[in-house]
Amino acid sequence: MHSIARRRHHRAAPLLLVLALLALITGIAAIAAPTPATATTEASAEDVADGERLFAANCASCHGLDAQGQDGVAPSLVGVGAAAVDFQVGTGRMPMQASGPQAPAKPVQFSDEQIAQLAAWVASLGAGPAIPTAEQVDPELGDAANGMLVFRTNCAMCHGSIGGGGALTQGKFAPSLLETTPTHIYEAMLTGPQSMPVFNDANVTPEQKRDVIAYLDFQSNGSPGGLSLGAIGPVSEGMWAWIVLLGLIIASTIWVGARSS
């Protein structure tokens, strides 16, 4: 369980470093009021230009060269912000592998630098939510107990009580959050990817978002009761009772019976 936690921080670290640098360049105002609705374009013109080239080569076939989208194929990306790009590309959901009910997470296709460049270009198209700062997503600063209350009111009906995941209609699903990085969790709440609704800052405040991250981070401690059987509730417990518990005992009845005869 600790390895997950380690990797989580480790994976996010380079990205957070880049962000910290960008924040330094644009000054204190960006940190004090990171209102996602009016995202700042802190990236250099060079990054934006590189991002545009990457976009044309990898994304434009569906989203169009001007990122306006195509009806029934791909949505317009004007105004989705850097956070949406960082989430979709940073978790491997985009570029989408195949048409389906939902784009699943898969191995990431771009380097962190390329993702930042793509994000910079998309952010330059129109104001949208920015990538959250390291402080905004730091589980240490959140209140896990409040996070539990927020999570179960807003998130648990799809993602399960501790974020183990769950099914939606027509083959769509709410993925497990147990291995998702804090930044991606924050971005998902902010941008509402795929079937997920947007939880804007009026709905779930930035502090509450961080509390949710703290609650999910707490789950990496593992279950106090032993192995968690997927943390998906009584169905896996029942299956376990039949197969392992009753199975072991019936095997021993046969053993006891064999001993006598």
Partner: protein, 572 residues
């Protein structure tokens, strides 16, 4: 030392016996014979898991507070700090995280509960498929059936006690089902919850039911169940020397007492092992009950899943008509009432009455102490498999979101599949099972008449090839020919000699139809005459061939030995 101990024991026994005359009982029970088979221990698993439930339950009652008074959590678990909850939930958390060994005992209790019901159902299946419910055991079948229902009640009342979100949602569904009962439903709900759901009375009330009422009834019925087993004597599997008038087995003392005592510790040990390794019912994940949140993966424990499956499967609209009606301002929720109450009642009713249904079909009033091989009663076996199929479909539909997520299927497609499947698959399972049983019976006939294939081919001097068949021994024969050969009931005609319709003709017609359903298509056991004829027929070839095969084999061995010598010499 040894003699001292012996005399002390004898003295104590004598002291007790002189004052209670218990010696006779002990002798009676100790000498009682029991046949031996592993499947006879399935009921024991249920009994022992119940004992484990009682032991662990006593521990838990020492720490559980059955109160719905609101408190704020102050214990060590981080994600609950300061959260408002009932005392019931807070004391469950306290048992889990602050009482030494509390979490282990909680998990033992819950795992044992799941095992208790699983063992009961497997035991019921054994009794069903071997026909152990037949006369004189019909009443004991009913007692066992009632125990199963009480087990469900014990499970459900206990599941709700921690007052977490998951179990609260379960209670919510029960409340909905109760309110779905026409006219009296709302009153029953108010009476049960002491006002509007969820109220503040339900936890103490469930607590009383869970630790006093239900286990008391279970204990009493377990005693009755075991008493009837002693009274009827235990059934036995068919075999040479076993009949409806005897019991072939070993006395209860010392073999079975040692075995049963040891087996209790095996069951307890395996439950404790699983409970120490695997989390069950992590209420700290679900949080204290609040009627508003419902998380994904909200399901009852497995034994109630079939009701959940029925509710998930039932359509809101059927043939263009809604299944919920508003009549004169009153709502009739057929969409809840039928799946959650009517269908389970019919299903369980059929199970409870099954011994009588089969007795009508056979018309046999004799006592049955030798069990059936499932293949020899194809229709019963088919019905059993169809009922299991029906039940399993409901359980899978009750877990449809888990299944959809696990196998990347569409939740909607699974539901539509089972909405049709629940009508199609059980009859299909019945038909397939019956065909397999009939096939196995045919194979038995074949074996009895022609013997085992030995794989030895003999060629005669005149060029004919035959395969040598080895006749079955006495025990093998007995097993395959000694089963009841029921034929469809013959009933008296509708009109008597005077042309007057007789009483009870319609009932007889029903029994005849039932009997035809059971026994119209059957494989008759081999009769003595048939066996004699087959043997006579075989006499022309088989024993003859058998001799020659043996001769040929000896020749082979001789040749092998010679080759070996030659080979050995060459190597040297």
């Amino acid at each position: 030392m040894g003699t001292k101990l012996n005399s002390a024991a004898a003295g104590t026994a004598n002291y007790v016996d002189e004052r209670t005359s218990i010696g006779g009982f002990v002798k009676f029970f100790a000498r009682k014979l029991f046949p031996d088979h592993w499947s006879f221990m399935l009921g024991e698993i249920a009994l022992y898991s119940f004992v484990v439930l009682l032991l662990s339950g006593v521990f838990l009652t020492a720490f559980f507070v059955p109160s719905m008074t609101e408190v704020h959590y102050e214990g060590p678990f981080a994600t609950m700090h300061g959260v408002a909850m009932t005392e019931a939930f807070a004391s469950t958390l306290k048992t889990s995280f602050e009482v030494p060994g509390g979490l282990l005992i909680r998990q033992i209790h819950h795992w044992a509960a799941l095992l208790f019901l699983a063992a009961i159902m497997v035991h019921m299946c054994r009794v069903f498929f071997t026909g152990a419910f037949r006369k004189p055991r019909e009443l004991n079948w009913l007692v066992g059936f009632t125990l199963m229902i009480l087990g469900l009640a014990a499970g459900f009342t206990g599941y709700s006690l921690p007052d977490d979100v998951l179990s609260g949602n379960g209670l919510r569904i029960i409340d909905g089902v109760i309110k779905g009962v026409p006219i009296i439903g709302t009153y029953i709900s108010y009476w049960l919850f002491g006002g509007e759901y969820p109220g503040t009375d339900i936890i103490p009330r469930l607590f009383t039911a869970h630790i006093l009422l239900v286990p008391g009834l279970i204990l009493a019925l377990v005693a009755l169940h075991l008493f009837l087993v002693f009274l009827h004597k235990h059934t036995q599997y068919p075999g040479g020397g076993k009949s409806h008038r005897n019991v072939v087995g070993l006395p209860l003392f010392p073999v079975y007492t040692a075995k049963a005592g040891g087996f209790f510790f095996v069951v307890f040990g395996i439950i404790a092992l699983v409970a120490s390794l695997f989390t069950i019912n992590p209420v700290w994940n679900y949080g204290p009950y609040d009627p508003s949140p419902v998380s994904a993966g909200t399901q009852p424990d497995w034994y109630i899943l079939f009701v959940d499956g029925l509710l998930r499967m039932w359509p809101g609209w059927l043939f263009g008509l809604p299944t919920e009606w508003v009549i004169g301002g009153y709502t009739l929720s057929l969409n809840i009432l039928i799946p959650a109450a009517v269908v389970p009642a019919l299903f369980f009713g059929f199970i409870a009455l099954y011994p009588w249904i089969e007795a009508w079909a056979t018309g046999d009033r004799g006592e049955k102490h030798v069990l059936d091989r499932p293949r020899n009663v194809p229709v019963r076996t088919g019905i059993g498999v169809a009922m299991i199929t029906f039940y399993v479909i409901l359980v899978i539909e009750g877990s449809n979101d888990i299944v959809a997520n696990l196998f990347h299927l569409s939740l909607n497609d699974i539901t539509i599949f089972f909405q049709w499947g629940v009508f199609i698959l059980p009859p299909l399972a019945f038909w397939i099972t019956r065909r397999i049983c009939l096939g196995l019976q045919r194979k038995d006939r074949e074996l009895v008449l022609h013997g085992h294939e030995t794989g030895t081919i003999v060629r005669y001097e005149h060029g004919e090839y035959i395969e040598v068949h080895e006749p079955l021994d006495e025990q093998e024969l007995w097993l395959r020919v000694s089963y009841e050969n029921y034929t469809p009931l013959e009933i008296a005609p509708e009109l008597n000699d005077h042309g007057v319709a007789r009483k009870g003709y319609r009932w007889d017609r029903f029994k005849q139809a039932l009997s035809r359903f059971y026994f119209e298509e059957r494989i008759e056991p081999v009769t003595a005459a048939e066996l004699e004829e087959a043997r006579h027929h075989h006499d022309e070839h088989a024993p003859h061939g058998l001799d020659e095969a043996a001769e040929a084999e000896q020749a082979d061995e001789r040749l092998d030995a010679e080759w070996e010598q030659v080979d050995g010499g060459a190597k040297k």
